[in-house]
Amino acid sequence: MSDNKTAKQTVVENGTEFEGVMRSQCPVVVSGKVKGEVSAPELTLTNDGNVQGKIKVKQLKSEGSLGGEIDAESVELSGSISDNTVIRSAALQVKLQESGGNKLQVSFGNCELQVGDPSKKSKSETHSSGNKKEHTAQEPVAVN
């Protein structure tokens, strides 16, 4: 926590609209509207935030409206996802709806989610009877 004082962030406040390319070395917080290209270590969209375009970040947390082509290491979503959105991420979390709530945590338009590495977790190959196990590049192969 001692670095809190020196940590900086770029803030696009509610009522501000930005269009173009935004490249930042520090975390970006959007409560306004951004259209274009965003690259930063962290991107946070508040309830009022709206980002549409090409996003490349390590961490993305969105409670607002999000759309476009998104590459991230970790994504936490609520709010809404626009049509024609592609999210590529090592990890994604969409919270379970809390009991008693009527509102959707997140509403998805037509979109595509590519999360994690299926080859690391697939159960179908080991589960299926009669399937031959295939060697992959990572596995040691005996050579005579």
């Binding site: 926590m1 940590a7 809390e98 979109c111 299926p118 690391k120 159960k123 179908s124």
Partner: protein, 371 residues
């Protein structure tokens, strides 16, 4: 040297000015009125907030290590990701506060009121919650290892997936609490009240159930209160672990269980409204129709390959769902949840009312969502 004096802090708060990232270490703020103050990312290490009014304040990401918050009013406060390690919150009022992902390691919350608070993914190892009120609290996936929870009231709390290893629940009230998939290994359950608690998938030491006080306990996967065979809690727990409770429940209307090791190919299956279907088997190229409100739970060992599920049901994926080229694999679901060990490869065609999606951290998705 702190950025502001006590008077300056109170003035700024009164005027609605931000104290974000302020260094306020060593400032005495006991009995201060800081309602709705913005103290986000502020450095408040060791600050004395005794009996202060911090209702609806924003303290997210703040450093509150070893802070003294005894008897403070913290209703509705935002403490997301705050660092409260070693903090004293004895007797504090934290009703409906948001402490998601906060660090409360070794903190004292004795007699605190946490009703309705959100503590999902909170780090609470060795915390003291003795006598605290935690009704309807959200503690899903929280870390409560070695925590002291004696005499605490967890009525209807959500402890789904929480790590409660070695936690001490003596004389605590867990009536109606959701402990599904929680880890209770080596937890002390002396005189713990667990009537109506949901325990499906939880890990515990069966001998400790002897100490539990409960008229009945819910071992059903979907927590709907269905009775599991067995006279004692230990027998019911063993039945749940072996899956016997599920398979024998075929006699119960609307409940179906497909066990591990079975393979079902090219079948067309229809399940009625509100039925519960659990699949630990391998389904290939099957067509499944779900009635309204039906629950389809694909267990950790379950695989559905080339299948299509149609209907306004709730789909809960712990295993692997993989559709073929025909797609979409899931049509018109009320909800789709992919758990941390789950894999979903395919597409979901949402109904007009839109599907409720939930994805746990760690899940794998190759998913197309269609409106």
């Amino acid at each position: 040297m702190a950025d502001y004096s006590r008077e300056a802090v109170l003035d700024r708060s009164k005027n609605g000015e931000s104290l974000e990232r302020a260094d306020l270490r060593d400032v005495v703020l006991s009995q201060a009125d800081l309602e709705s103050a913005n103290l986000r990312r502020a450095d408040l290490e060791g600050v004395n907030f005794e009996e202060a009014n911090l209702r609806n304040a924003n303290l997210s990401n703040a450093n509150l290590r070893d802070a003294y918050l005894a008897n403070a009013s913290l209703q509705g406060v935002n403490l997301q990701k705050a660092d409260l390690e070693g903090a004293n919150l004895e007797g504090a009022n934290l009703q409906n506060a948001d402490l998601s992902r906060a660090n409360l390691e070794g903190a004292s919350l004795e007699r605190a009121n946490l009703s309705g608070a959100r503590l999902n993914y909170a780090q609470m190892e060795a915390a003291n919650l003795g006598g605290a009120v935690l009704q309807h609290v959200q503690l899903a996936n929280a870390d409560l290892r070695d925590a002291y929870l004696g005499g605490a009231d967890f009525t209807d709390a959500n402890l789904n997936g929480a790590d409660l290893t070695k936690a001490n629940f003596e004389e605590a009230n867990l009536s109606g609490a959701d402990l599904r998939d929680a880890n209770l290994h080596n937890a002390k359950l002396n005189a713990t009240v667990m009537t109506g608690a949901k325990l499906h998938g939880c890990e515990l030491d069966v001998e400790n159930l002897v100490e539990v006080i409960a008229e009945w306990v819910d071992f059903a996967a979907n927590g709907n209160g269905e009775r599991t065979p067995g006279d004692t809690l230990a027998e019911q727990y063993q039945a749940m672990k072996s899956g016997a409770g599920q398979s024998s429940s075929g006699s119960q209307a609307g409940k179906r269980f497909f066990g591990q090791g079975d393979v079902l190919r090219n079948a067309a299956l229809e399940f009625g409204d509100k039925s519960v279907v659990e699949i630990e088997s391998r389904f290939e190229n099957c067509s499944i129709a779900l009635g309204t409100g039906a629950v389809l739970r694909l267990g950790k060992h379950g695989v559905m390959q080339g299948c299509q599920v149609v209907g306004f049901g709730e789909i809960d994926i712990h295993g692997e769902f993989k559709e073929n080229e025909k797609g979409p694999g899931i049509v018109g679901p009320k909800s789709v949840t992919v758990r941390k060990d789950g894999i979903m490869s395919g597409s979901v065609q949402q109904p007009p009312t839109m599907t409720e999606f939930a994805f746990e951290h760690g899940c794998v998705l190759r998913l197309k969502i269609q409106k």
